[in-house]
Symmetry: C2
Amino acid sequence: MSASTALMTDRYELTMLDAALRDGTAGRRCVFELFARRLSGGRRFGVVGGTGRLLSLLRDFRFGDDELRFLRDGGVVSPEAVTYLENYRFTGSMTGYREGELYFPGSPILTVEGSFADAVILETLALSVLNHDSAVATAASRMSIAAGDRPLAEMGSRRTNEASAIASARIAYIAGFHATSNLEAGRAWGIPTMGTAAHAWTLLHDSEEDAFRAQIESLGTGTTLLVDTYDIRKGVETAIRVAGTELGGVRLDSGDLPTVAASVRAQLDELGATGTKITVTSDLDEYAIAALAASPVDAYGVGTSVVTGSGHPAAGMVYKLVARQGSDGGWVSVSKTAEGKGSQGGRKNAFRVLENGTAVQELVEVADGFEQLSPASEYPDARALQVPLVIDGEPVAEHEGAAGVAAAREHHLRVREELPIRALALSRSDPAIPTIYKDAGEA
Amino acid sequence: MSASTALMTDRYELTMLDAALRDGTAGRRCVFELFARRLSGGRRFGVVGGTGRLLSLLRDFRFGDDELRFLRDGGVVSPEAVTYLENYRFTGSMTGYREGELYFPGSPILTVEGSFADAVILETLALSVLNHDSAVATAASRMSIAAGDRPLAEMGSRRTNEASAIASARIAYIAGFHATSNLEAGRAWGIPTMGTAAHAWTLLHDSEEDAFRAQIESLGTGTTLLVDTYDIRKGVETAIRVAGTELGGVRLDSGDLPTVAASVRAQLDELGATGTKITVTSDLDEYAIAALAASPVDAYGVGTSVVTGSGHPAAGMVYKLVARQGSDGGWVSVSKTAEGKGSQGGRKNAFRVLENGTAVQELVEVADGFEQLSPASEYPDARALQVPLVIDGEPVAEHEGAAGVAAAREHHLRVREELPIRALALSRSDPAIPTIYKDAGEA
């Protein structure tokens, strides 16, 4: 794959740009907005994911020789458009919700300002990153809430595309997970990595005992042994015989977990291994985690369900033109009226209104034209939700890299505290707080 | 991201390798098998996806300075293991199902042979690629069957991770789609790209008429106009007024499609635009496509549902040790017995048994030890399903790149013809043909 991200783009964006260059609209200043019309799956809140990644990918959104050759030779766009793209670099600005922030229907998660040509071609990349990462973030945050204080590890790399796996490990950590099995996520984003052993490890050896002994010799008594390759009861017995009662942990990857965990706990206690922890990893999702709250489980490992958004792998965000300059240079709010897919025109400012520290409303002020609104002073108990992300084409570096990940995780855990209690339930419902639109003039 | 794929790996694979280097089992010859215990979602067949990508990613599975530094400084493995990994290159072999081939529960989709150290660390990468791509392939093939002869385009890039998007476009094409909106998939894999225009294009202009006129001037009368930004009836009227009755097509992206398509067809015919085609793109999946079979629709564009595997984003494949050398050098079949997750030990050969050209059985011969089976002559009406994919560490190049994609698509469309009629129904059911295991000795 090319190091350029410029062709992670739907063809129609470039053909629209081409047509706009011809008819003179390419230079019209535009405001695009990325938002979700609803929360997938009856979720009570959404979690913004991917912002830091998007900024880094934007740095590589340049058309190099390979990209230009493809566009030219394939006749995708005209020679004039190829020339334009040769020099393309996003020079507009982006403001938006911090990564890890919560969102609700209509929240203006990302606002992109620039010429039509500048902004229209970022639609696919912005949506790919934010739809995927936010879907995983939202599922992960619910799992993290369900797990309470127990450590939670992301282990789903094998159940999603190899690049999605890295992004998923990253965003699950931001949303409250404690570690990942994915080594590249550790290297690239500074996320703690963890692991136990596979069934293959036991099967490789002439006996389960040989396998356990070798693992302990290599990783120490604090390691976690996988005890369900053959018979769990015998596995636990062998584990403690080999490791002693100081064994760090055992992992259970099959069976009816509440039952099995209780019987393994009893067996470990009987054998004197009262400090040996139990990690469970079999087909967990937020509901299974919640159902194990009263079981003697010490840590969870989650695979498929977190990396696939627990039934909702895409967050359903869209990228819409909400305001533009008209032929007279003045600003016009625009919106489509397609059935069931309407949008709210106009540039927006967003605030989370709090009462005694608890969120009660997502307040979205809608500007008539383009002017930057700054009415925060009108809402003493409201938190302004938008921050600068890209200024004159330059990404704000604090959101990127490992430092960005750490800051996003901290932000997420802090703002989650503002949620009303009803937001923490797992069942399908309406959003936990309503989104209220207000004309800027009313302030 | 690093160009190396070596850390797209779960941590436990490297710690197992480390422990195996210490206890002398790292060199034991092993056979790992990648297979699915069941078909997700009551599907009647599965489609193998990702093989060609896996081979190319395997070429980059080398530990470079960045990867080694991370492993050493993070204390992931011992210095001895770091030294081993420094020189790591897969030197084993792989055989397996061709990309685009059908599979059923237990089909030995990929067989990896090598030392334990060689083969154990490919688990995550192999599963990530095949689980993701096969999930998309299976959904895409069902959509392709439902669409019949009507063109089908993949337009889901914005609904999945930006790298998954490219892989999804590639595998949807292999599974019968005709084109993609994703430009990088066009560049990297030679897949035809397509596109129309977005609502933003209409909103950018002072009127819908201006927008249509500019699009036609740029792309010609053969283009497809998006007619539902405001009022569909007026949009169609404007489209034909501006383009004339030779307009290539109109796109509908909202509303109750059977109703809307019928009324738009009637309006187009009334206006004399009898050759203008109707493309529909709103929230389609295989069921919606099938429901439109009798509607006057000419082409489909599918987004979210294809790139997310239509409700089943991971194929549920696993990678298990099935045979290994014992301490005496002889071969041992191995399998775990964990509840609900058992596996069938032993190296396998697979055949699709046909009767009058129709598949009736997935025949899986299980070897007692390691020996290469070659009983094809015993089954005159059976097709051998496994081909060499990697020989002594070297990927077989014909499966890679754009040529590999073209060959896989051709293979898929050919073998799909072997399916019995009942396999083509969309409702949940058992696999279309049974998987029969047979001891090699019985042949």
